[in-house]
Symmetry: C2
Subunit: 341 residues, 2 copies
């Protein structure tokens, strides 16, 4: 069968994808039963709904590539980090499959989501099978730190679940603070990215200080990504394809710039417009955009993103790792902040 | 706060409940975030939908009690088996919370199911949080076999997921064989019970042969339970409360006695009556009951249950464990086969 990896993302990511594509498929085949494997193959984009190969490997593999890098950061070979990479990717996709059900999202990566094709019950089970397989892959690894790595992965997963819970709960609340919102984003996006950046190092028994600094680096990058993503969700970026300008506001999302603005002095008009349930007219979306900016929400989010990037850089600089690996971490971080997580 | 454990189930189970009730609550509090903990408290019966304590510990704790016994079987103290017990109970309840969503079941243990109270999204997340916590509890345990025990728990969980998948798929198929049906029941019910009977021993680093024999004992008891449960689902038992006579047939369930009868020679009338989608009249339920019995479905299931119980007994007899622990395993098995798993 011919498989066509999408090349040209970044040299580091191209290498990651080449190493990990077949390994991920093997892990799915050997750990999931035939029915669950079929759904996973569809979800990952390897097969169509009838099980016919699509000829693609699917996915950018950003998180698992970071996990490979972290094994190299601890002085091990890329190959030693593969179980960590697969585990992170399986947990990430478990969360996507379940989130799509919870959010009622009908498309992902331009294709119908798993639950729309296989039904909610089988999609719940497929997510369950993926998170279970993630733990198994890691515990079967020969690495000295398998137990500790699996525990870190579970901690990140638990935080991701808390972040998703908080995100949903925020939609029903009018008094969310920027601090709460940052914590939610740290749980929902930062925790697994921090785990990805450190899990390979932890698995191969890397130095505790290196593991912790790489984890902090990833968490800060994750938060910076979320801030940038929220900014683009309101103001967009004419140079990039992606989120539609105003989409988050039309959905009345409690995104970071909005929450900062809602908590700023003199936000009465913004609160009156935004904190209700009727759909916003296009005029109101434009007015809300202006009010969020005037209340300082845009500046706050930009400053906060810059602060997170700076902290990420300090963590990475402080980690005792080879310089070429540091450079590759920065390359992938740049790719993520170019809004492709 | 006063808590009232339901006593008098069996001396072994009473002891298990007393040890495990508070420990399970602590594990939920320390591993789940506040929102997920609230849902878990409700699901376990410790709180009502508003979070007010109910004053009960909830649950019979059959599986975790078996896990404690298995630690003692390997020469350790009950207390050393507690993490294994909690992990098994958390995985079991993860599966209940998700199964209730999948099956659309609105009540469990006489109370509204979690998804009807908290909504499907939060109930999916609560199940996810429980299975994640199960792994963490086990990996944090000081036992020599934490890694190996966690891997066994994941294997059992993966089989449980496969069993649930097969069960759902069988409803759409007309050609299920008794062998497939036994395999499904082994996955769905046997795997976690086998895990419960061996996980404590595995966690404390017990002898491999003891672990394997206890696991096989539990799997056979699980299969026997399923066969008895299926028999009672058709013919009931006037001496016991529980399943309503004929309930499984009215739901056209592909239970073990039915599948055996459908595969027996001369089952044309049964197949014509049963393998269609219209509701069965009460007369037809009676006729199907007779046809399943005449085709040998009842005898086959009884014989198979007896065979499973005999094999379970052989496995337990062959395990090098203290006689008092063996006696307690038999006491709990008797309780399960009295149809209270």
């Amino acid at each position: 069968m011919t498989t066509t990896p999408v090349r040209g993302l970044s040299p580091v990511l191209d290498t990651g994808r080449t190493m990990l594509g077949p390994a991920l498929r093997d892990a799915v085949r050997s750990h999931l039963g035939p029915e669950m494997s079929r759904i996973a193959h569809y979800h990952f984009g390897w097969s169509d709904a009838e099980g016919r190969p699509t000829g693609t490997w699917g996915g950018k593999m950003v998180r698992p590539t970071l996990a490979l890098l972290s094994a190299r950061a601890a002085g091990a070979a890329d190959a030693d980090g593969v179980p960590a990479a697969l585990a992170v990717e399986l947990v990430h996709n478990f969360s996507l499959v379940h989130d799509d059900i919870m959010d009622g999202d009908e498309t992902r990566r331009g294709r119908p989501t798993a639950w729309t094709v296989f039904g909610v019950p089988d999609a719940i089970l497929a997510g369950d099978a993926m998170v279970t397989a993630a733990t198994s892959v890691l515990l079967e690894a020969p690495g000295a730190g398998a137990n500790s790595a699996a525990l870190s992965l579970m901690t990140a997963t638990q935080r991701m679940i808390d972040g998703q819970t908080a995100d949903v709960a925020f939609e029903r609340r009018d008094d969310v603070t920027p601090a709460e919102c940052l914590r939610m984003a740290g749980d929902k996006t930062g925790a697994l990215l921090g785990c990805a950046c450190s899990l390979g190092a932890e698995l191969v028994g890397g130095e505790r200080a290196v593991v912790e600094r790489l984890r902090a680096f990833g968490e800060h990058i994750g938060l910076a990504f979320q801030l940038v993503d929220d900014l683009l969700g309101i103001w967009g970026d004419p140079d990039r394809a992606g989120k539609q300008v105003g989409a988050d506001l039309r959905a009345r999302k409690k995104s970071l710039p909005v929450v900062a603005a809602l908590n700023a002095p003199g936000s009465d008009e913004l609160r009156a417009l935004y904190l209700r349930s009727e759909p916003l007219t296009e005029g109101a979306v434009q007015r809300v955009t202006d009010l969020v900016e005037r209340a300082g929400g845009r500046d706050w989010a930009r400053d906060e993103a810059a602060r997170q990037v700076a902290e990420a850089g300090e963590c990475l600089a402080a980690a005792r790792i080879p310089d070429d690996v540091r450079g590759e971490f920065l390359e992938v971080a740049g790719f993520i902040l170019g809004r492709q997580l």
